[in-house]
Amino acid sequence: MSVVTLTMNGRLISARQGESLLQAAREHGIEIPTLCHLDGLEPLGGCRLCLVEVRGSPRPLPACLTQASEGLVVETDTAALVEYRRMIVELLLAERAHTCSVCVRNGRCELQAMAARLGVDHVRFEYRYRLLPLDASHERFTLDHNRCILCRRCVRVCDAVEGAHTWDVCFRGINGRVVSDLDRPWGESTSCTGCGKCVHLCPTGALSRTVDVGDEAARERASLLRILERRAGIREEGA
């Protein structure tokens, strides 16, 4: 495999031919933000956070979809790019109801972390305030459209890794939303295997485990009982 040399943020770095700029940057400790990309999934180029400036290109290019090639001169953190990224995060926050305080992912949310990382301390756009439905029909998982950023990780992992293609996107533009099967409740999906890959990859609280009901709660209690049992044993020994 041939190696190419390019300049990133003024530094000469080497990359494998055919590798994306995003991968090349990561290998050299340069973090380019992204919310939709995950190694191993088909690159989408949807969130536009990984846009970088490439000399000779009239407009910024997505690092996840741009291949490293010999002699490229790339800037990943210019003032314009940082401003665009902030606006993208603000647009996402205004688009749906991302109310962190009552979100299951509060503190572990990638959108929240991205906002903090980019210094988004207010949103200049008017919030949409549109209450979207919540699908809690699945016995173990919940889908909350209000937290979805349409990154389509769930769609891609379900299709490419699990091979079920339960998820897809329905409607378009601002009204787009992910649907299971042909827009049936998740719980009634005949293709869903219940593997949970979508939940594990969801960057926000859109997909989560329904931990408070059913079997899940019972298992939580069983493990706690085991801990208590051990604790009781230790106490006995100490006595």
Partner: protein
């Protein structure tokens, strides 16, 4: 069918037409159909059958004739006389015309377009040469007008390289809007080292007010098929797809008929015109998404996926349909190809300007005396189109702006009326040539309202794949909506411009990249109007509601 048979057929058609004394042409394009062309046609048919004339005139239902606002149009062609064109034709008029013809009397004097009607005489019709003059459902009439001659010549006398070279030499540029050199695109596809290649004609026209492609597909479908077959031969493709917008059922029906007729006679199929070239064309209907006019979204739609664009590169010329090299041109570009071959590249390049050769079809609409479909050489001044062809604005109203390029384009102000209509000149003014929609506006139009309308269109049509287009057009629409309702916030103007730049720079495909153009171009020429809306909470044109209430966003 061989080249000789083609010539024999053309001659027979020519003789048949000469034999008839008169022809009656009824425009059956969508606008005239909507105005009642069907009833005119059946009245003519009924009266002709009852009249018992010795040599019954040819009755032809044609495609678009041009002056759509005057429809339904009835043209009477008589030997050795200039054509008589009746506007707003009615069944009663049809009866009167047939009676006059059967008696050999003079035709009714009322309701006729002037003999030298500038709308028709100021045009140069190359692409629309047959439009309104032949029956689109009769392949023989297209052949009689010289159709499929270019294809026969290409197959028998030219190598694929020579065809590509001829198209390059003609200087033809893509008519879909961006103006990419057609010959260059063909050569790119030709050079790819793959066995399987495709040709796609993009008939997914969606700009509000634009209907050039529809008229072309409805009026002269065989010309598009011929252009596609020539392209297939030149780039080495054996399969072509014709992608027609779902809202154009009439165009799709006529194209389907044309394809079937061409296959039946061996003009398309496994031995095209008795050569060793094999070419088939498949029809694909869209499902009502504007974004499918974007080439990568169109590819997805043809392959049966959700109509969404993907990032380029790879360009379709390298990886298109099912990963194979694919040539995508607009239907109007393909309709130019037979003319490039039969006129010769030099003669074609002599029309228009040096950098933009040939003609362009425009759908002329808005506040004009005459609206309709026109074809003029590229580089024709806007003033000539508006005042000579369009007849100026009604009631002597003042010209304010002309909108070109639909939701991807911009407005040209009155001060720039002398701009030559070519790719570069329009771009320099912050607009684009686009596919050919041309909307003329008078003093009663508000530029904020126009920008708001187009932004609403882009918001509705965004596929939602990338954030700037999905959420950005939504926020832009809300800002413009606030301005139009007199409830804009002080910082809205700056936010509007900043967000426009961001959406333009960061969107994934052409839809998002160009969505801010109507705002940016109206801001450039009519900034004071925005200021008045914002600071004085007043609409100078009296168009915006300014009622202090936001219109609820579509859910």
């Amino acid at each position: 069918m061989t080249g000789t048979e083609l010539a024999v057929l053309a001659e027979a058609e020519d003789r048949r037409r000469r034999g008839g004394e008169q022809r009656l042409l009824v425009c059956c394009g969508s606008p005239c159909m909507a105005a009642g062309a069907e009833s005119v046609l059946s009245a003519l048919r009924g009266r002709l059958a009852a009249s018992g004339m010795a040599t019954e005139p040819d009755l032809v239902g044609t495609g678009c004739r041009g002056p759509c606002s005057r429809g339904p149009l009835l043209t009477v062609q008589r030997r050795d006389e200039t054509d008589a064109i009746f506007e707003h034709a009615t069944p009663e008029l049809a009866v009167a015309v047939v009676d006059a013809l059967s008696r050999g009397a003079d035709l009714p004097g009322e309701g006729r377009l002037p003999e030298r009607f500038p709308f028709l005489t100021c045009q140069t019709r190359i692409v629309l040469a047959n439009c309104g003059l032949i029956d689109p459902d009769e392949m023989g009439q297209y052949i009689g007008a010289g159709g499929y001659n270019a294809l026969a010549r290409v197959l028998h006398d030219m190598s694929p390289e020579e065809v590509c070279a001829a198209v390059s030499a003609s200087g033809l540029r893509g008519r879909g809007g961006a103006g990419y050199p057609t010959g260059l695109k063909w050569q790119l596809v030709r050079k790819e080292r793959r066995d399987r290649r495709f040709v796609i004609a993009n008939g997914d026209e969606g700009d509000p007010g634009a209907y050039m492609d529809r008229a072309l597909m409805e009026a002269d479908p065989h010309r598009i098929l011929e252009g596609m077959a020539i392209a297939g031969y030149a780039v080495g493709a054996e399969e072509g797809y014709l992608y027609v917008r779902g809202e154009y059922p009439l165009a799709a029906r006529r194209l389907g008929k044309a394809i079937a007729a061409a296959e039946r006679t061996g003009i398309l199929g496994s031995r095209v015109l008795d050569s060793r070239f094999r070419f088939r064309i498949f029809l694909r209907m869209g499902a009502g998404a504007f974004v499918c006019g974007e080439e990568t979204a169109l590819l997805a739609s043809v392959m049966g996926h959700r109509g969404e664009p993907h990032s380029r590169p790879p360009y379709p010329s390298r990886q298109g349909l099912w990963g194979c090299p694919t040539l995508i041109n607009n239907v109007e570009t393909f309709a130019n190809i037979p003319a490039v071959i039969s006129m010769g590249a030099e003669a074609f390049a002599a029309v228009g300007t040096a950098a933009s050769s040939g003609t362009k079809v425009f759908a002329l609409c808005g506040e004009l005396v005459n609206t309709g479909l026109i074809e003029v050489p590229l580089g024709t001044p806007l003033r000539r189109i508006v005042y000579d062809i369009g007849g100026g604005l009604p009631d002597g109203r003042e010209f304010k702006a002309a909108q070109t390029g639909g939701p991807s384009g911009g407005c040209i102000p009155a001060a720039q009326l002398d701009v030559p209509m070519d790719y570069e000149a329009l771009q320099a003014l912050g607009s684009i040539m686009g596919s050919g929609g041309l909307i003329v506006m008078g003093e009663g139009s508000c530029m904020v309202d126009i920008a708001r309308y187009f932004m609403g269109f882009c918001m509705e049509e965004s596929c939602g794949k990338c954030v700037p287009c999905r959420a950005g057009t939504f926020e832009l629409f809300r800002m413009l909506d606030r301005m139009a309702n007199g409830i804009a916030r002080p910082g809205d103007m700056e936010d509007l411009e900043r967000l426009c730049r961001m959406v333009r720079e960061t969107s994934l495909c052409g839809l998002g990249m160009s969505a801010p153009n109507p705002v940016l171009s109206t801001l450039r020429w009519f900034r004071d109007e925005y200021e008045t809306h914002l600071r004085e909470r007043r609409c100078p044109a009296g168009r915006c509601a300014m009622n202090g209430e936001a219109v609820p966003c579509p859910s």
